[in-house]
């Protein structure tokens, strides 16, 4: 027994030496891909561009003028082939596990269905699926990656941080894959555009990425509608995904504005009286804090407070109802109402699911709101 154990030890010590000692890859043999862009090119193939960081440029003391990343592009018939073509051009092994962002250019998503693209993403085990998927409106995704951001060292990081800070956390490619595989939900994908504004006094800016709303995708992941940036906050709230952080509304008489910060956002779906699946209520809940009051209202008065709360509820309800109606017209159920009905009325759902995009248009969705005005601010009344 003892001899066997010793032999086993020796064999195991020998194993690593004979199994190839240079298995490890040093970090300076890797090219860390931070962002990927996909564009359509003329001949029908696709062009993949990879944004790769240059670690030596990030070191302290190096001049800030040199770029801290490069963008390399190559064409191919699918994502894998294009990536292989890129690999041939650079001396380090491509490492896509740390990717932050996948940008898809307008030329691609207008012509193709995105589910072909995401097959590679979901199938390849080396993808962590933690990256954010965005669409680029009005331009090539490749140019988007090439932008130099004034604050962050790569635009991909800037875009993903921008979404995070604005409460849009749940838009990773993992979520996209989950949404696209479920039958009763359609994905929402953020849309970015490049805004050419001068933000730096030193030099002319090439433009910065700006969040421009959502694209509503259908079952085949093809965009069927766009929501602008005012509608999208409500849409992500109704979809149970994001945070609706603030709202500004004009007061009844049209004089002055009221601004609220909203927190503890909640959303629930229920069908009316539990019987008719075609009548659905989207109930939203939140707590509001009054932050700005230019309507000369005396908030120390209890009646005014109740008045404001009622008005705010009605305003938000109207706003969201309009968003719901717009989404419904596109026929893409981004709110997950289908998923709810699937669970609530499974037998009914079986007849509906194949044409859910068409049937969704006929469902009557009502928005109900329960928003509590929690605080009227530090100064209750107005400054005299």
């Amino acid at each position: 027994m003892k001899r066997f154990f010793m032999l086993l030890c020796v064999l195991l010590m020998v194993t690593p030496c004979v199994s190839g000692c240079s298995d490890f890859v040093e970090p300076n043999q890797l090219a860390f891909v931070i962002g990927t862009a996909v564009d359509q090119v003329q001949d029908g193939s696709i062009e993949v561009s990879l944004q790769v960081v240059i670690p030596s440029q990030l070191q302290k003391g190096n001049s800030t003028n040199s770029e801290s990343f490069i963008v390399i592009s190559a064409k191919g018939r699918d994502v894998f082939e294009a990536s292989q073509n890129i690999q041939r051009k650079i001396p380090r092994r491509l490492m896509t596990s740390h990717r932050i962002l996948i940008a898809i250019g307008e030329s691609y998503f207008q012509k193709n269905e995105l589910n072909l693209l995401f097959d590679k993403l979901a199938r390849d085990p080396s993808n962590t699926l933690r990256d954010v998927v965005i669409l680029i409106k009005g331009g090539r995704a490749k140019d988007f990656l090439r932008l130099k951001h004034p604050m962050e060292y790569v635009t991909s990081l800037a875009a993903s941080k921008e979404m995070n800070i604005n409460g849009l956390q749940d838009f990773t490619s993992r979520q996209l894959v989950i949404d696209s595989l479920s039958q009763g939900t359609r994905p929402l994908v953020p849309v970015f555009k490049v805004e050419h504004k001068t933000v730096s006094s030193q030099k002319k800016s090439e433009g910065i990425p700006v969040f421009a709303g959502f694209a509503v995708l259908n079952k085949k992941l093809k965009p069927v509608g766009f929501l602008n940036d005012t509608e999208c906050a409500g849409a992500s709230w109704l979809a149970g995904k994001g945070m609706f952080q603030g709202i500004t509304m004009p007061w009844k008489n049209g004089k002055g504005m009221l601004s609220f910060r909203l927190s503890r956002l909640d959303r629930s779906i229920r069908s009316v009286r539990g019987q008719d699946p075609k009548q659905v209520v989207l109930a939203i809940k939140a707590q509001a804090y009054l932050l700005e009051n230019t309507a000369s209202l005396d908030m120390t008065d209890m009646n005014t407070v109740i008045d404001v709360q009622k008005y705010m509820n009605a305003y938000i309800r109207k706003d969201l109802q309009a968003t719901v109606n717009k989404v419904q017209k596109s026929g893409s159920d981004v709110f997950g109402i289908g998923e709810y009905l699937h669970r609530k009325h499974p037998i009914w759902w079986k007849r509906q699911r194949d044409e859910w995009d068409a049937n969704f248009k006929t469902v009557q969705v009502t928005v109900k709101s329960d928003i509590q005005l929690r605080s009227v601010g530090v100064i209750g009344g107005e400054l005299k």
Binding site: C9, L12, M13, P16, C17, S19, C21, D23, F24, V25, E26, P27, N28, L30, F32, I34, V53, P55, S56, L58, Q59, M95, S97, H98, R99, I100, S126, T128
Partner: protein, 482 residues
């Protein structure tokens, strides 16, 4: 056995021959008024000379024999009974025994016409006083530490456990050193099997000398090739007393301030005496820190190598880019770099032990400046590795017992070696082998990894979080059974 002669001249000649070339032997012969010849023999420096003069020489020479007593047959008997105001007096009749006693610091007194010698124990040698143990300092608790003198050490234990069941069996080991070793245990609590095994092994020791209790440790251990020590050593009498009450067995060797405690488990190396002196809630935190750091102390370099060179996809993007940035110009592979740094760290540690006190700052300056700064600025060693190795080094020092850190310092190299080839697979191999070894190991019949494996629900209360004493004993505070 040479019996002593009646003739004092013969005895003296024999003793002088035995102690030939021993410059520290003292012979003092004198004659009493009634014609009796007496001879005092002792080793200078081991016997308390003042006491010899006060208690033996002065009464005999100046005061004469006490009157009014009925005659006693021999002078030696008379002296033993009446004249020597000393506590520990005995008679021996062989010259070998006499020599042995003299060597241990006793005073030999021979009388002409008697074939026996009187032995008086008047030890008087210089020794270290009881001090705070430096290696195992605690914030709270007793400040006493063991010293080199065996009797002082046993007295420290006797003063803590005032019970006649505290037994102290004596053994003499070492053909030249004749070291007295005491096997202390509490009868009724200690395991008889452990005791008989220890007695048997002590009897088998065949050495010229036992200089320190560490010598005993190697003779007693069951698995000598294991990297884990199966016997605990401590300078603290309070730890020994607590262990004795837990049913453990202690060995104290004369001349060594370190007592040995056995059997022990893996966890006793990770526990500090302070754990039992501080409030138990706080101890939960300190133990959690200590266990986490123990893991770090042998695993962190390997984890770093595996993560950064085998599985970079497991590291968050920003962290990985930071690491890549720092390692951009490194000339060596990560494994080699970590090996170099670990080697340098151990070299610094070893140098620190041997550096004379006056040269201490030199060592730290060279260590901090040359390795910490210059190597990084020259681009030979990257910063993350410095952080990893320093953290690993610090982590090993959170283990309370120095001898318990050794196995982890050694395992660090082994696990790094195999991880350098195989990545996390190798790391898993390393940990599995370590666990197999720990589970197979035994310390005097006690499984080394108890109470985790084999699981013991009652004892595990003292491993991860220290329960208060009243819960551990299965009683609630008011005295009823739980």
């Amino acid at each position: 056995m040479n019996a002593l002669s009646i003739d004092i001249e013969v005895n003296e000649a024999h003793l002088r021959q035995q102690f030939e070339d021993c410059s520290d032997i003292v012979f003092r012969s004198f004659k009493l008024s009634d014609g009796a010849m007496l001879l005092l023999v002792y080793l200078d420096g081991l016997t308390h000379v003042q006491s010899v003069e006060d208690n033996i020489l002065r009464p005999l020479l100046f005061n004469g024999l006490p009157q009014g007593e009925k005659p006693v047959p021999s002078l030696a008997e008379r002296m033993k009974r009446e004249w020597l105001p000393l506590a520990n007096v005995q008679t021996v009749d062989s010259s070998d025994a006499l020599v042995q006693h003299i060597l241990r610091g006793s005073l030999g007194l021979l009388v002409n016409g008697e074939a026996a010698a009187l032995i008086a124990q008047i030890p008087g040698f210089e020794e270290r006083s009881i001090q705070e143990p430096k290696k195992e300092a605690t914030l709270r608790g007793s400040k006493e530490g063991f010293v080199e003198n065996l009797r002082t050490n046993t007295s420290l234990l006797r003063r803590r456990i005032i019970h006649e069941d505290l037994k102290m069996e004596s053994f003499t080991i070492g053909s030249y050193t004749q070291t007295e070793v005491v096997l202390a245990y509490v009868k009724g609590l200690a395991d008889e099997n452990v005791l008989s095994e220890v007695r048997k092994k002590l009897g088998q020791i065949d050495m010229k000398g036992i200089i320190d209790s560490a010598y005993l440790e190697e003779w007693l251990e069951g698995s000598s090739y294991s990297i884990f020590s199966q016997i605990q050593n401590t300078e603290r009498p309070d730890i020994v007393a607590a262990s004795l009450l837990e049913g453990k067995v202690t060995l104290i060797a004369n001349g060594s301030p370190f007592a040995l405690i056995l059997p022990i488990t893996f966890w006793s190396g990770l526990q500090s005496a302070d754990d039992y002196f501080e409030r138990f809630v706080f101890v939960i935190l300190t133990r959690a820190v200590r266990y986490a750091m123990t893991f770090i102390s042998f695993a962190l370099p390997a984890i770093y190598v595996a993560l950064s060179t085998f599985h970079p996809e497991m590291v968050p993007a920003n962290l990985m880019i930071s690491i890549a940035t720092a390692r951009e110009n490194s000339p060596f592979p990560t494994v080699i770099e970590v090996f170099i740094m670990m080697f340098i760290f151990d070299a610094l540690q070893e140098a620190g032990v041997h550096l004379p006190n006056q040269l201490g700052p030199v060592g730290s300056i060279i260590g901090a400046l040359v390795i910490g700064q210059a190597a990084v600025e020259a681009g030979i060693i990257s910063t993350p590795i410095i952080i990893v190795i320093s953290l690993t080094g610090i982590a090993a020092f959170t283990i309370p017992r120095y001898s318990a850190t050794m196995p982890f310092r050694l395992t660090r190299y082994m696990i790094l070696f195999i991880t350098g080839f195989l990545g996390f697979v190798g790391f898993a191999y390393g940990i599995i082998f370590l666990l197999i070894h720990l589970v197979m190991l035994e310390s005097f019949g006690t499984p080394f990894f108890r109470p985790v494996a084999p699981f013991d629900g009652r004892r595990i209360k003292d491993i991860f979080i220290r329960y208060p004493f009243w819960i551990k004993n299965g009683r609630n505070k008011k005295g009823g059974q739980q």
